[in-house]
Amino acid sequence: MSDRVMKSYRFREEREADWKQLEQIIQRAESRGVGGLSDQDMERLPGLYRQAVSSLSVARTISLDQNVVAYLETLCARAYFFVYGTRSRMSERVAQFFARDWAAAVSAAKGPTLLAFLCLFGGALLAFFLTLNDNEWYWTFHGGWDSRNPNATYDELRATLYETDRDIIDMLGAFAAQLFSHNSGIAIFAFALGFAFGVPTAVLLIYNGVYLGSFFAVFWQKGLAYELTGWLFIHGVTELFAVILAGAAGFMIGGAVAFPGRKTRMQSMREAGEKAAMVIIGAVIMLFLAALLEGFGRQLITSDIVRYTIAGTSLVLWLAYFYLPRQDTGNRRD
């Protein structure tokens, strides 16, 4: 092979050093983030990236070296994801979520939220009046294992609302158990089932309302409604609000699938999914707070007045946080 001038060989020889350099920069960026790059790296990156991308198109047409083409394919893909990928840091994202995105997403979804609210409390009202009229209805909605049923006496029922003989360890246990209770499951379910046109979400919300309403009716009949409301809403404001928002997230997706408008169904669902995700992660945070309130707050605080105060305050705080208009400071990041 006297003249060893192979085009693809020379092509590679000339550019290899730059490819390797790009690879090193990307490697560093992937393991340590943008902070791990020096100013010099940042300066060179766009040029190196563009060069690698054009190398790839050339290599595809002139080189039969599988390894070079495969190498350039993955190098360019990695560089592309970095150059055009997520730029903000985790901490910035989280800060922005609490400062603006969460409230914006929730307040933009007033319609679905209202619908979810109606489902939950409509179900509750229905079951409440049904059970008031005929106690048999209670047994339709509840299993026999709960001691808080129509056959319980006033004192038995009252005792369940003011358990004081618990220490901090029991509270921690109650808190942990609450995390795994069906509420977080229901919230995620209500969201995830949304894509089936929102129908399962509605059923889930109504069912939960029914459960709550019939339970309430039992205490109402015994004249314990005032006490129960305090017991329930000290954490229930936050918890039920979270369940409603989760349902709203489900309806957002369901609505997007059912009525995509001018967009394709996929596109519409995907855009709604982005917004709904923000609502649902917020709902999970709210459920976490509710679990804290239920685990600790409810056992520590046995005064009805204080319970009502906490419930009212939390409702006002949530409503103000979500729906009060706020200044837009501009610079958005994804």
């Binding site: 693809s8 060989y9 394919e73 993955t74 360019c76 649902i280 992660i281």
Partner: protein
């Protein structure tokens, strides 16, 4: 020299093999999604297969279990110093930690810079936006909460009902539900889960590839002694597919295989090995010669796909 002249008995079989190879290549090509970057260059991204994704999922679940056991074990060894109350605290704390691991393991890793959980990384997968845009945190959250619905919730209900011995048909329904969602990626061309569908994401196969030495660069050094020259008739026998197979053979096979391949090529092209010449030297020289020949033809617009491609 026609192929039939060399091995007539195998012609039918070879034809079958070629067709199978073409089919396999078609399948591979179907996995490729072309993404046009803002620079106007096309990137070929490969959709990951169902098997790869399932494997990554199993790895991730296993890793989650290991983390959970580690947490429980660590806390238990601390709490063991105390009395029964210590155990109760330990269990509650462990439960809270496990809650976080379970819900945020996938989200944490996929929001990260590598856009992949450890399991996905091990198999060279990563999550990407379906349109080639930015992968947002919201998309990651949406796709992972839907996993909860697709897999974990039905499974946990299955186990909790199983314990109470509730009627069997509910369990069967749940199993079918689970199966439908788990197998959903098999029934669409992008291998999307429901979560991917909602979040607008896809999972691609993009393993890191090392840049190896160019085989053709070795040949000029080796030919300092007696150089091997192939006639263009000899180089016309093989095509691109054979060149790539030869590249694989040279990069990753045993001396015996290299010897076999060298013998077969030598017989086929009618080449008599010179004395003192090793198989590797011959193969590398032939590789360089063949690649140069084929690349030259490619510049003139003739891609000779394989040895059957006679144009």
């Amino acid at each position: 020299m026609t192929d039939a002249a060399v091995s007539p008995p195998n012609a039918v079989q070879e034809g079958k093999r070629r067709r199978a190879r073409m089919r396999a290549r078609k399948v591979e090509e179907k996995r490729v999604r072309t993404l046009v970057t803002p620079e106007g260059a096309a990137l070929n991204l490969k959709i990951s297969t169902f098997g790869e994704r399932f494997g990554a999922f199993i790895l991730d679940v296993a890793l989650q279990f290991i983390i959970m056991f580690a947490i429980v074990f660590a806390i238990a060894s601390i709490a063991g110093a105390f009395d029964f109350r210590g155990w109760q605290i330990a269990w509650a704390v462990a439960q809270v930690l496990i809650f976080f691991v379970r819900n945020f393991y996938f989200i944490y890793f996929e929001i990260g810079r590598k856009a992949a959980t450890p399991g996905k990384r091990a198999l060279g997968l990563r999550v990407a936006d379906r349109k080639g845009g930015r992968l947002t945190a919201n998309a990651v959250i949406a796709r992972n909460f839907l996993r909860e619905l697709e897999f974990f919730l039905p499974l946990s209900i299955l186990f909790s009902f199983g314990a109470e011995g509730v009627s069997g048909w509910i369990n069967w329904l749940l199993l079918i539900w689970c199966g439908l969602f788990v197998l959903f990626p098999l029934f669409n061309k992008d291998k999307l889960r429901i979560g991917d569908l909602v979040a607008g994401t896809m999972v691609i196969h993009a393993p890191k590839v090392q840049l190896l030495d160019d085989i053709a660069s070795v040949a000029p050094i080796a030919d300092s002694g007696g150089k091997i020259v192939f006639s263009s008739a000899q180089l016309d026998i093989y095509g691109i597919h054979e060149l790539h197979v030869l590249e694989d053979v040279l990069r990753q096979s045993t001396p015996e295989i290299k010897r076999n391949v060298a013998n077969r090529i030598a017989t086929k092209i009618g080449y008599t090995p010179q004395s003192g010449e090793t198989d590797v030297v011959f193969l590398e020289a032939f590789y360089a010669g063949l690649r140069r020949h084929l690349e030259q033809r490619m510049l003139f617009g003739e891609r000779k796909e394989d040895k059957y491609d006679q144009r």
